[in-house]
């Protein structure tokens, strides 16, 4: 994977009337990644995006995008960015076509035919090709969101900043947006916020979780899903498992062993302190007992919702 940094923040923070909306944030978003930015309402996600776009100024710290300072070189940065606001608002008297044409002319003078083709391509991309002449005020929330995605992409930006891109969309619309993000990845870096954890898990490669304005977790999604409470194995056994349990529990590298019975099967959760030893010996030690059959064995993987809930409700930090 290309590791060229596109966004870098250095202790970037924002305070409103003495309230820290964003605590010092250090973050790196690399080229061609799909970076999911998560957090509950008021966590500071939109504030971070607005800081990156130069719409608000940092109280402390700085950010660079494409190596340029987000405050001093903001227009140069914005020439290479596409942005979808959380609640996209356009001129109500414009049609869909006029909105895209207006947006395109911030980047392109012409030729008119090329601009026309680009607009048609964007309409096709978001499924609004039949609504080009519809006034913005006549669009539904989902259509407005699609128009927002189209206008953000009209200049083929090097970086897309999307604030809740799938928020107003139905499940099919969400699926389409995820497909678009996935397709764009070859050409573009995507930095997006969302509440829909399932979407993040499907398309993101890196995730940051903000909570109360502070970075609570940040890293490749695989790392986050592997969890932070050490290595945990889950084992499902059939038969007389008690002797095996007693044997495993005494191993010095086993930190904790929880058992439960369900549907005639024993379910173990084994927390280990030595990952390599556990990998080599755990299954072998269990199978020493001929009276037990292992029907399931694997390293525990969290789903993102579990990680998110742990962090937001429990104040846990994963990094």
């Amino acid at each position: 994977m290309n590791a060229i940094p596109i966004i870098q923040t250095h202790e970037l923070s924002k305070t409103y009337d003495g309230v820290e909306a964003l605590k010092p944030l250090d973050l790196t978003v690399t080229a061609n990644s799909i970076f999911g930015f998560l957090g509950p309402n008021g966590a500071g996600k939109t504030t971070t995006m607005k800081l990156l776009l130069g719409l608000i100024r940092p109280t402390h710290g700085s950010a660079t995008i494409f190596g340029m300072d987000s405050v001093r070189q903001s227009p140069d940065i914005r020439a290479r960015i596409g942005y979808l606001p959380q609640d996209p608002r356009f001129y109500e008297h414009h049609t869909v076509w006029e909105t895209l044409d207006f947006t395109a002319h911030f980047f392109f003078k012409g030729p008119a035919e090329a601009i026309k083709r680009r607009i048609e391509e964007m309409l096709d991309l978001v499924g609004l090709e039949g609504k080009a002449d519809r006034k913005v005020r006549m669009l539904s929330g989902g259509e407005r969101q699609r128009l927002g995605i189209a206008q953000a992409q009209v200049n083929y930006p090097d970086l897309l900043i999307l604030d809740e891109p799938a928020a107003s969309l139905d499940p099919l619309g969400r699926r389409d947006v995820l497909e678009v993000l996935h397709r764009l990845r070859k050409h573009t870096t995507v930095f997006y916020s969302t509440h829909i954890l399932d979407d993040v898990q499907k398309v993101s490669d890196t995730v940051a979780i903000l909570n109360h304005g502070a970075l609570a977790a940040y890293g490749p999604i695989e790392t986050l899903l592997a969890g932070s409470g050490g290595v945990i194995y889950t084992v499902t056994l059939k038969g007389a498992s008690e002797p095996a349990r007693a044997r495993i529990a005494t191993c010095p590298w086993v930190k904790d062993l929880q058992t439960s019975e369900r549907d005639g099967l024993a379910h173990w959760t084994v927390a280990v302190s030595d990952e390599i030893t556990a990998e080599q010996q755990l299954l072998r030690l269990i199978l020493e007992d001929a009276g037990v059959t292992v029907t399931g064995f694997g390293r525990k993987r969290y789903d993102l919702e579990e990680v998110f809930t742990n962090i937001v409700e429990g104040g846990a930090h994963v990094r």
Partner: protein, 264 residues
């Protein structure tokens, strides 16, 4: 941005960044919609209907009286329309989020404010001063009102324009400084109608306030700056013209300056 090689890229830099596109949009909102002809029709109708009443009543008139009536209606009512039009121009965009959307594009904040200032200034000048003025000039010519010269009449229209720009830039500035529509409309209206009371209390203020550009400084009908210039007579003072010109420049500069670090 790969894949854009078939395009001619916009080359504007610095404060001009995005200006051309924003201006195009701002002018289109006047001239490619019904706004221009609705405003032109209203003001050409209102001002000239009243002027016609003076000119064609059959009771006779003098030059100063005709011009003063014209100046009162051309100088008193259009500013109210300007205030109503301008009060939402910046605040509306700040509150709705369209300002944040536009400024997420390669657009300078100076260009954003200029695109609110210039197209609206052009629009109100044409529809509230120029079109009604041309019809008024035609009426006066037909009625044999001895206007000093077309140039004097044009200079008078310039003074009405300056009067409108005073309220236009004041309201624009308040829209930048505040997010309150009430403040952006109440303060300019208060200025527009409070001046006569201020002049009543402190007569020296007639030497500077915009009121006397088109409305009589004293109890007599004549004497305001614009009708005096139209009639080829020296106005009682050039002070209001100078003061209003300075205010227009100051309000515009403050609008541009204060918008630079507005948080959107």
């Amino acid at each position: 941005m790969s894949g854009n090689s078939g395009f001619e890229l916009v080359q504007e830099q610095g404060w001009r960044r995005g200006l051309r596109n924003l201006m195009r949009q701002g002018l289109a909102s006047w001239w490619k919609t019904s706004t221009w002809w609705v405003q032109a029709l209203i003001w050409t109708g209102v001002i000239n209907f009243i002027l016609a009443g003076v000119l064609w009543s059959g009771q006779g008139f003098d030059v100063q009286e005709a011009l003063s009536f014209y100046a009162i209606f051309a100088g008193l009512f259009p500013p109210i329309a300007v205030i109503i039009i301008m009060q939402d121009v910046v605040i509306g965009e700040k509150l709705s989020g369209t300002a944040a959307w536009l400024l997420s594009k390669p657009v300078s904040r100076t260009a954003f404010i200029l695109s609110k200032l210039v197209p609206n200034a052009v629009g109100v000048t044409a529809t509230m001063v120029l079109f009604p003025g041309l019809v008024a000039f035609a009426q006066m010519t037909v009625a044999d009102v001895p206007i000093a010269s077309p140039l004097h009449f044009l200079a008078g229209l310039g003074i009405f324009t300056l009067n409108l720009w005073f309220y236009l830039t004041l309201t624009l500035m308040l829209g930048v400084l505040s997010n309150s529509r009430a403040a952006a409309i109440a303060i300019p209206l208060g200025v527009a109608f409070g001046q006569q009371y201020l002049i009543g209390m402190i007569p020296a203020l007639q030497q500077v306030l915009p009121w006397t550009l088109s409305l009589p400084p004293g109890q007599e009908l004549g004497g305001a700056v614009a009708p005096s210039v139209m009639a080829g007579v020296a106005p009682f003072s050039w002070g209001p013209l100078i003061f209003v010109s300075v205010c227009v420049v100051v309000f515009s500069i403050v609008s541009v300056w204060r918008f630079q670090d507005q948080e959107l």
